[in-house]
Symmetry: C2
Subunit: 143 residues, 2 copies
DNA sequence: GCTTTAAATCGTAATCATTTCGATTGACAA
DNA sequence: TTGTCAATCGAAATGATTACGATTTAAAGC
C-alpha cells in the first residue's frame, strides 16, 4: 500500500495521472511480486473493480509502467507476453518457472563471461533466460 | 541443388512426400543460408512459382522442417518468427544482425559458464541470443 | 500405365494477442 | 468551479498464425 502509493507518486512526478485503475494494476503487481502475469491476467483482475475496463487501458498502462521501469516484460515462445514488478535497477537475468511463473534472479551476466569479436559486431542488446521448474513445481512436465 | 535433394530425401525417409513446393522452400533456405527469413518472406517467394500457395502450406512446411531439425526458429520481441537453415547438430548460440538478419555462430554456452543452484531449480531449457549490427550494417539504428 | 488413398494443398474463415480510433470521461491545475 | 488534455471506453482493425472442409496429387501397389 505504501509501496503502490510511492510508485504512483513517481508516475505523477513524470507527468502522468493518478487513477484508480492504475492503482489496482500496480497493487496487483505488488501482490504477485515474484510472478509473471499476462495482460489477460491483469485485465481479468481489474474487471472485478471496473467491469467496463478496456484492453486499450490495460496495454497502455503496461506500456507506461514498463517505460517508467516499474515493470519488466518477458516473452516465451509464441505465448502472450508476461509482466512482473521490476526487481531493481541493476542488470540481471532470470530463472523462470514454467509451472507457476515464479522467477529467481541470476546476477551473473553471460555477456561478461563470453568472448565475442566486438570489432566485427556492434552489440546493442542481448537476451538470456533459463526455463525450468522451481522446487515447488518439481520435476514434472519436462519439454 | 544436391543439398536440397539430400534434404528432401531425408524427409522422404521419415515418411513425408517430395513436393515441388517443399523443394522451393528448401532451396530458398539454402540460398539464404546465413539469414533468418519470416514466414511471409517464404510465402512471397513460393508465390512466384505457385501463385495459389496458401499460408497453411507455408506454416505446415516450416513446422515440418523444424520438426525434422532442418531449420531453426527464432523470435525477437513481438515481431514475426524467423527461420533459417539448421547450422548443425551441436548446441550453439547466435549473434543476430538487426539490420539484415544475418547470423554468426557463438560456440560458448552461458549455461556452462554460469553458476546456478540446480537443487533448487530443474533446468529444462534456456535462451541466449545477442542482437546488434554486423560490420556491413554498421553501427546505425541503435535501440 | 492405371488405381487407390492418405498426405498435401487450397481457399477462406477463425483465432488470439495486441493496437487503433473517434467519442466520452475525469484528474487536476488554475 | 471550470477548462483542458490525458485517460478511458467500446468496438473494430490488424497481423501473425491456425483451422477446416473440399480438392488435388505423390507414390505405393497392381
Amino acid at each position: 500500500m505504501a509501496k503502490s502509493q510511492e510508485i504512483l507518486e513517481q508516475l505523477k512526478e513524470s507527468g502522468h495521472r493518478f487513477t484508480g485503475k492504475r492503482k489496482i494494476v500496480v497493487d496487483l503487481f505488488i501482490e504477485y511480486k515474484d510472478k509473471y502475469l499476462t495482460a489477460k491476467d491483469v485485465y481479468e483482475h481489474v474487471k472485478k473493480s471496473y467491469p467496463s475496463i478496456s484492453y486499450d487501458t490495460i496495454y497502455r498502462t503496461l506500456a507506461l509502467l514498463k517505460q517508467e521501469n516499474l515493470i519488466e516484460e518477458m516473452e516465451y515462445g509464441d505465448e502472450a507476453s508476461r509482466y512482473r514488478l521490476s526487481c531493481g535497477q541493476g542488470h540481471h537475468h532470470h530463472l523462470v518457472c514454467l509451472g507457476c511463473g515464479s522467477i529467481k534472479v541470476v546476477k551473473d551476466c553471460p555477456m561478461e563471461l563470453i568472448n565475442i569479436d566486438r570489432d566485427d559486431f556492434t552489440v546493442v542488446n542481448h537476451r538470456f533466460e533459463i526455463f525450468g521448474y522451481c522446487s515447488t513445481c518439481g520435476h514434472s512436465n519436462k519439454s
